[in-house]
Structures are given as C-alpha cells and as structure tokens.
C-alpha cells in the first residue's frame, strides 16, 4: 500500500502530474468572483464561505479523471488488479493520494483566499476545519466516479455529471459550517453531519469503487 501511495505522489509532482492544477484553478475562480459581483465588501463577506467551498469543490473535480484513467491507459490498472493488494485497498490508497495532492493544498490555501473575499475573522478556523473534514469525502466520491467511467473515451464529462450530484450533501453541510462560523453562530451540528458524511463515504465507497472497477476491467 505504501508503495502505491508513494508512486502516486511521486507521479503527481513530476512533470505532467497535475499537482497544483487544482490549486491554481481554485485561486483563479476565487479571484474572479469579486470581478463578477463587484467590490462591495458586505456582499463578498456574505457569499465568501459558499464561494470558497464551491471553488474547492470544482478544483477537486478538475483532477478526478487522472486518478484511474492514466493507469488504465498504460495497463497498470490490470496489473494492480492482479497484485496481492485487494482492489478495495488500491482504490482507497488512490483516493488518499488524490486528497494529499489536491484536497490538502486547497485546505492550506483557503485562508489566504478567504482574505481576498473579506471573510470575517471567526470564519477562518471553521472554513479550514470544514474543508479539512469535507475534502476527503470529495476525493473518495470522485474515485468512485472515476471507477465508473474508467475505459470510456472522453469519460471526464460523464464523470462530472455523475459525481456533482453526489457532492451536494458535502457542499451543503461544508458551506453551512463555514457560513455559521463566519456569522458567529454555532456550527457544531452541520460539522457533525459533515464528519458523518465523510466517515460514511470513506467506509463504504471503496467497496463500491472496487466492484465497478472489476466489472469495467473485464
């Protein structure tokens, strides 16, 4: 498992690996929003948590088709499937590698971008916390979507259509934590819901991903 994780991380940071792609996209989306809605700080403060969450979600989506498609194209996926590592573990490791290279940088960058959107002081902690808890679910759900569409020519768009509705609960509760935190309300209830969602997807979805992958590899 360690070997697979290290390989995926190494591939991500080498040329063409796509590390930083999501981060740059996140940055651009968030920077563009004030241009779109105008420089009114009160309005920006109100929409900041939602925009930051939406930006992080879309940035996450951007790199999903790399999780499995590249390994499928060069035949690695067949060989990984015949390795001693159970396919469930392999997809979990791949989701973890995706989170480390995409989700974690987004979490780290969010406070800086919060500044650009005039996020109020108490909101930073909750924004970072909600992203840190919520983005693993995005990676795991995304891996499921990637497993569903692996082997399809130009499956990326279909995958986005399949995955985005599945992101809705995470987005609702994640953005709600950040909004309540920013407005000084009690964010514990949505935070618990968000944590539950993440734990549930991490526990269950790798089995579904491995099952559809087995069908797709036939």
């Amino acid at each position: 498992m360690r070997a697979l994780l290290l390989r995926d991380l190494r591939l991500a940071v080498r040329a063409g690996g796509g590390f930083g792609l999501g981060l740059a996209f996140f940055l651009i989306v968030v920077v563009l929003v004030p241009f779109g809605v105008g420089p009114e700080t009160a309005l920006l403060t109100r929409i900041a948590p939602g925009i930051l969450w939406l930006g992080a979600l879309l940035a996450c989506l951007l790199s999903l088709d790399r999780i499995l498609a590249l390994d499928w194209e060069d035949g690695s996926l067949d060989l990984i499937a015949t390795a001693p590592l159970p396919l469930e573990a392999a997809v979990s490791v791949k989701a973890l590698a995706h989170w480390l290279t995409t989700g974690l940088p987004l979490v780290a960058a969010a406070p800086v971008l919060g500044l650009l959107l005039n996020l109020p002081g108490p909101g930073y902690l909750w924004l970072v916390l909600s992203l840190a808890i919520g983005t693993p679910a995005l990676s795991v759900i995304g891996t499921f979507g990637a497993a569903l569409t692996v082997g399809l020519k130009r499956g990326g768009l279909l995958m986005s259509l399949l995955v985005l509705p599945l992101y809705v609960p995470t987005l609702i509760f994640g953005a709600e934590v950040a909004r309540r935190g920013a407005e000084g309300m009690d964010p514990v209830t949505p935070l618990l819901m968000l944590g539950g969602l993440t734990c549930g997807t991490i526990a269950l979805l790798p089995f579904a991903s491995a099952a559809v992958l087995r069908v797709n590899l036939r």
Partner: protein, 205 residues
C-alpha cells in the same frame, strides 16, 4: 504444484469465444497457446489471471499465483526504469530488483526515465516486472512483440530460469522462443453457441 483447468468457457464482450478448454500443467513446464486472431487467446489468459470470471469451468490455482503480462506494460513514463521496477517489487512484497535488471540487460538504463526508452526497451522493462512479482505462474500474452532477436533470446533464458525454479508459464505466441513447451491449439475449442445468458446492458454507455 499443478495448474489444472477443467472445461473452461470464456466470453469476450458477452460473446462466448472458447468452451471446453481443459489443460494440465505441472511445475517446471511451459504451455504455448496457438490459434488464429480472435480465437480468444487473450481472453483465456485474462481469465487465468483472474481479470475476468469464466462463463463456466474451473481453474485450480488461485489468481494470487499468476503474474500477468499483456500488450500494455504498465510503465510510467515519468518514473525511471529502477523506480518502475521497484514499485512493482514492493507491491508484491519483494525488494530485490537486481536479478530482473540483469536478466533483461537493463542495468545501464536503470536511471533513465521510462518515457525515453524505445519500444523494445519498454517491453524488456515490462517483462522484467514478471521476475519481481515472485509469482509461480507466468501468464504471457504475445510477450515478444517489438523485441529484437537478441532480446527474444534473453526472454527465452528468463523463462527457462523461471521453469528451472519450479515455475510455470502459459504463453500465447506465434514465434519459436527456444523453450521446451507443449503446444495447445485453440481452434478446436471455438465456442459454437451464440446466445448469451448475460442480461448486462452496456448499450446505454
């Protein structure tokens, strides 16, 4: 150890291609599969490797005993030769890659990025992976594609070394590898029934 296949039927894309395939292979022996294009060599090998379930029949050995190599070598262009091999070795719980590098004369290329290798060199790297899996049964699909005459010789030596260690090999190939091997002609096993008992609808995708 013995590989026994009984009355195996396999399908490709929902269409049965081979049925009634039976074979028996003991340690130290190799089997060469022959047959015209489309007869189902690849499908049979993928079934043996556990990548797809058979329609019916039985394979005696577990998929954990099989090392599979096909047309795609699973090589990452942005990793070096050594990193590629080391990854596959560690995935199979092994450390030693020196023997695999030596068998396919990859020692001088170890530090090169795999993306800069020629097609034949990539193939050699893909075949070297078999040695670092440490598995008993090699399931090989056209292993000599894009290899030159000399490299085919190295490959033959690697297979003979594997067999001498009590291993087995099932190889689909059209050329002579210089290995003592039984030959199984697949044409007589061509499936006759056309109807499929499979209600999986792939048309939507």
């Amino acid at each position: 150890m013995e590989l026994v296949v009984e009355d195996l039927a396999v399908a490709r894309g929902g269409v049965p291609v081979l049925e009634g395939v039976s074979l028996r292979l003991t340690g130290g022996h190799a089997l060469v599969l022959r047959g015209p294009n489309g007869i189902g060599k690849t499908t049979l090998l993928r079934t043996l490797a556990g990548l797809q379930p058979p329609l019916s029949g039985r394979v005696s050995l577990d998929r954990e005993e099989m090392a599979y190599a096909a047309h795609a070598d699973g090589i990452k262009a942005m990793l070096s030769v050594e990193e590629n091999l080391r990854f596959w070795a560690e995935l199979h719980g092994l450390r030693d890659i020196a023997r695999a590098l030596e068998a396919f004369r990859l020692g001088d290329l170890a530090g090169r990025l795999a993306g800069s290798l020629s097609a034949g060199q990539k193939r050699r790297l893909g075949l070297a992976r078999l040695i670092v899996t440490g598995r008993r049964v090699w399931v090989l699909d056209e292993p000599t594609v894009s290899l030159d005459r000399e490299a085919v010789g190295w490959f033959g030596a690697a297979v003979r070394g594997h067999l001498a260690g009590g291993g087995m090999a099932v190889i689909a190939t059209h050329i002579d590898l210089g290995i003592e091997a039984e030959v199984l002609e697949l044409a007589p096993f061509r499936a006759v029934r056309r109807a499929v008992a499979d209600d999986f609808d792939e048309a939507f995708l």
